[in-house]
Symmetry: C2
Subunit: 456 residues, 2 copies
C-alpha cells in the first residue's frame, strides 16, 4: 500500500451530484495545515467557523469548517470537515484546492481504514460502516448499526474468552509440569470443548439470517414447463420483466429481480421448467441453473398449471422438488395458476389459486409470501447480532473446525492429546481474531476497504 498512516488525504464525503450543501473532508497529520492554506485561517477545535475557501484562481465559496483534533476525531487523526454549497463545480474545486495544498486524493474507505489502524474501531466495526451505508431496510440497518457499535465484536470476545481459558490451562500443564496445576482429564476436556463449540456454531448459523437481512430473502419460482412461472414473476413485479410465450421452455436463464412484497423486500428468481427433457446442452445447463437457484433460495413457489389435471411427470417433478426442499428446510408455497381457465378446481393446501390475467388471488399470494418471509426477518431482529458477512462466517466455521479437531485428538491421540489440542485451540483463536482483525494482513484490509466509497 502506498499510504503511510501520517500523510494527509482528502475527498468529497457527501453523495455525488447537486444539493444545498456538501462536505469535503481532509484527514491526517497535515489536515489542519492544508485547511489553513485553503481557508486562510487556523481552525479552533470542534467549533463551527465561517470561512472563505480560496485557491490560486480566486474565491471558491463561503464555507463552514470544523476541525476535529486527533484525540477527539472519529479517525484518530486530525480531521477537517468543510461544508460548502452543494454544487458539483464547487465540490470538485474545493477538493482540488486541498490537493494543491498538499493532501492526496483518499482511496475508497481510507478514512475508515485509519479509524481501524488508529484503534478507534475493530475490523468488524469498520466493515459495518459499509453495511450501514448500504442498509435499505430497518432490519439491515439495525444489524449494521449494532455491529458498528461493537455488537458482533462483543459476541466474538465472548466466544474467545473460554477458548483462551482452556488453552491457558492446557499450556500451563504442559509448560510447568513441576507446578501443582490440577490436570485436565480427557472426559472433562471433551465436555469443555463441546461446550465451546455450541455458541460458535450458533453464531456461524446466524449467517443465513444475516444474509436475509442484507439482501432480502430469495424467492425461487419453480414448476413444470409452461405452468405460468414467468407470468407470475411479471405479475408480482408489476412489469413485463420476463418474456412470456405459450411455447414451453421460453425461460432458459434464471432471472433475478428485487421486489417489494407488502413492505418486505425480496429477490424474485424465475427459473426454467422442471422435469423438462434435456434435448440439448442448453437445456441441461438451464436445469443446473434452476437447481442452483433453488438451493440458494429461502422460499420456493411451486407453480402448477391449474387448468388441467397433473400427469405422472408433473407429479414426479413436484415430489422431487418437495423432497429437496424438505431436506433443506425450505418452505414451499404452492400456486395453482390459470384460475380463469378452470374456475372450480380446489386450491392446494398451503397455497393459493391465482389468475395472473384477471388478478384473482394475487393479493392473497403477496400477503402469504410476505408472512412466510416475515418469519425469517422477524426471527433475525429478535435474535440480536447476526453474522452478515461471508468473511466472518468463514472465520467462524474455521474456528469451529479447529475446536472439532481438538476434541477428536482427545480420543485418537491418548498419549499427546494435550499438546495437539492446544495447537488446534491456538488456530481457533487466530480464526476468531480475523473477525475483529487486530493483526489482519494488508491484503485482507485492502480487500475489505476497496468495497467502500471514497470519502468514508
Amino acid at each position: 500500500m502506498p499510504n503511510t498512516p501520517t500523510d494527509t488525504i482528502a475527498a468529497i464525503a457527501t453523495p455525488p451530484g447537486s444539493g444545498a450543501l456538501a462536505i469535503v473532508r481532509a484527514g491526517g497529520g497535515g489536515a489542519a495545515a492544508v485547511a489553513r492554506a485553503v481557508l486562510g485561517k487556523a481552525l479552533p477545535p470542534r467549533r463551527a467557523v465561517l470561512a472563505r475557501a480560496r485557491d490560486s484562481a480566486g474565491d471558491i465559496d463561503q464555507v463552514v469548517s470544523l476541525f476535529f483534533p486527533a484525540e477527539s476525531s472519529p479517525t484518530g487523526e486530525d480531521l477537517v470537515e468543510i461544508t460548502c454549497h452543494g454544487s458539483p463545480y464547487i465540490q470538485k474545486r474545493l477538493l482540488k484546492a486541498l490537493l494543491e495544498a498538499g493532501a492526496r486524493a483518499a482511496e475508497p474507505g481510507e478514512f475508515t481504514r485509519r479509524s481501524f489502524c488508529n484503534g478507534r474501531m475493530d475490523l468488524a466495526q469498520a466493515e459495518a460502516v459499509c453495511d450501514l451505508i448500504a442498509a435499505g431496510t430497518g432490519a439491515a440497518h439495525r444489524s449494521a448499526l449494532s455491529q458498528l457499535e461493537g455488537g458482533l465484536s462483543r459476541d466474538v470476545d465472548a466466544l474467545r474468552a473460554p477458548i483462551l481459558g482452556l488453552l491457558t490451562h492446557l499450556e500451563a500443564c504442559l509448560d510447568h509440569p513441576e507446578e501443582d496445576i490440577p490436570p485436565l482429564g480427557p472426559a472433562e476436556a471433551k465436555a469443555r470443548l463441546t461446550g465451546l463449540e455450541a455458541p460458535v456454531a450458533r453464531l456461524a448459523d446466524s449467517f443465513r439470517t444475516g444474509r436475509l437481512l442484507r439482501e432480502g430473502p430469495r424467492v425461487c419460482i419453480v414448476g413444470r414447463p409452461n405452468a405460468g412461472k414467468s407470468s407470475l414473476l411479471n405479475a408480482l413485479l408489476g412489469c413485463e420483466r420476463a418474456i412470456v410465450c405459450p411455447e414451453p421452455g421460453t425461460t432458459r436463464d434464471t432471472i433475478e429481480e428485487p421486489c417489494d412484497l407488502d413492505g418486505t423486500p425480496a429477490v424474485l428468481v424465475d427459473t426454467a421448467g422442471l422435469g423438462h427433457d434435456c434435448a440439448c446442452a442448453a437445456d441441461a445447463e438451464s436445469l443446473r441453473r434452476t437447481q442452483r437457484a433453488l438451493r440458494s433460495s429461502d422460499v420456493a413457489v411451486l407453480v402448477i398449471d391449474g387448468s388441467r389435471p397433473p400427469d405422472a411427470r408433473d407429479e414426479a417433478a413436484h415430489r422431487a422438488l418437495r423432497e429437496a426442499s424438505a431436506e433443506d428446510r425450505r418452505p414451499v408455497l404452492t400456486v395453482l395458476s390459470k384460475a380463469d381457465l378452470a374456475p372450480r378446481a380446489p386450491a392446494a393446501a398451503g397455497g393459493c389459486r391465482v389468475s395472473v390475467l384477471r388478478g384473482d388471488g394475487m393479493a392473497e399470494l403477496r400477503s402469504l409470501l410476505a408472512r412466510t418471509l416475515g418469519g425469517g426477518a422477524g426471527a433475525a431482529c429478535a435474535g440480536g447480532a447476526a453474522v452478515t458477512c461471508a468473511r466472518h462466517h468463514d472465520a467462524l466455521r474455521r474456528c469451529l473446525a479447529r475446536l472439532g479437531e481438538a476434541r477428536a485428538c482427545v480420543d485418537s491421540r491418548p498419549g499427546c492429546w494435550e499438546e495437539l489440542a492446544a495447537r488446534e485451540l491456538r488456530e481457533a483463536l487466530a480464526a476468531l481474531d480475523e473477525i475483529t482483525g487486530p493483526a489482519a494482513p494488508d491484503e485482507v484490509l485492502a480487500g475489505i476497504f476497496s468495497r467502500f466509497c471514497v470519502g468514508k
Copy 2:
C-alpha cells in the same frame, strides 16, 4: 403561503443518494427543541457534538450535530445541522424523526427564503444561491458568487442613489415652494436624467453576457440544404446525434446539444437548410425555427458545400444570412465542408475547410470556435457583475423606460414637468427595488424560491 416565519422546517440538505456522510437540517423557532427530542441532549452553540439520533422505533445513527442560534445562523433563525452516515435509509429516517418531533418538511428554497425574510440577504443574493449551486463553469461560478456576496446589489444601489437624489430635489421644490431651494432648470434636469440612464442601460445590456455565463454561448449551424450541417454537428459532438442522409432536407426540427469546445462550454444548434423551397407547411415551420435559432445564437457557423461551386441561390442565401448577422452583431464563421471531395478549393476568409469524413480541419475549427466564443466569456469576466437573471433584466429595462419618460416630460409638458418627472422617478426606483426585493410581493417570492432544491 401556509408557512409563518416562526414554524420549524426540516430537510435533507446534501445531494440525494448514497455517500459517506449526509446532512439533515432543521430551522426555525423550534429547531433546538426538535433536535433535542431526536438527539436526547441540548446542543451548545456552534460546537460539534457527538450524539445518538433516535426515534420511537430505536436508534437511527451516531451523528455529529451543530446548533447555530438565530443571531449567528445563516438563516437568521435557530438552525441545527445533523451530519449522519450517508445512507438513504438513515437520511430519510432522521428526517422523519425530526418531522415527528414537530418540524414540517421544508419547501424548495425555504431556508434561503428565511435568510431573505430575516434580512440576512437581499433578494438578488438569495437568487444567487440557486445560480451558485447550478454553476458549471468557472465564469458562471464567479458571477454567482459575486452576486451572492452583494456585487449586483451594490451596483443597483449605485444606480439608485443619484435617482433618489434627483427625486428628492424635485420633491423638495414641489412640496416646499416657500423655502429657498435652488430650482432645477429644464436643461439641467435633462442632462442629469441622461446621465442617470447610461449606467442603467449598461447594467441591463450585461444580461446578454450574463446569459452566456449561465448557459454557455449558442452556436447555430446554418447553411443550404445538404451542405453538411448535421455531419458537422455530429463531428463536433463526437457522436451520431443528428440523422445524416444524402437526401437534402433531412433535418427539420432544430437540434440542440451541449458541447465542450476545447474547454469552453457551448450549446450547438443544428438547423434545417436555408433558402429551401417551402413545399409544405412543415418546411415553412422549419424555416421559422431556423430563423428563431439564428436570432437567439451568439455565433453562426455557415456551412458551405466545398465540393461544388456556389450557384446563385446559394449566394443569395449566404448574403441574407451575413446581412442578418451583421445587423445583430453576430460573428459568422464560414466552413467549407466536404474537403475530401474537392481538395484544392481555397478556404474562405475567416473560416476553414473541413472534411468530417477524414477529420481534416476539425481541430482548427474547434479552436477557432473556442477563440470566437472565448471573447465573450473573457469580456464578461473582466467586466465585473453581469445581470444573469431575466427578472433583473426586465426590472432594469422598466427603470430605463421610466427615466426616458421623465426626460421626455421636460420638453413635452413644460408647465408641470417637475411633478410628472417625479412620478416617473418614483416608478424607476420601484423597478430597481424589485431586484433586491425589500417589498417583493408573495407571488414573486414564491416563483423565485420554487426554482430551488429542497434543503437550501
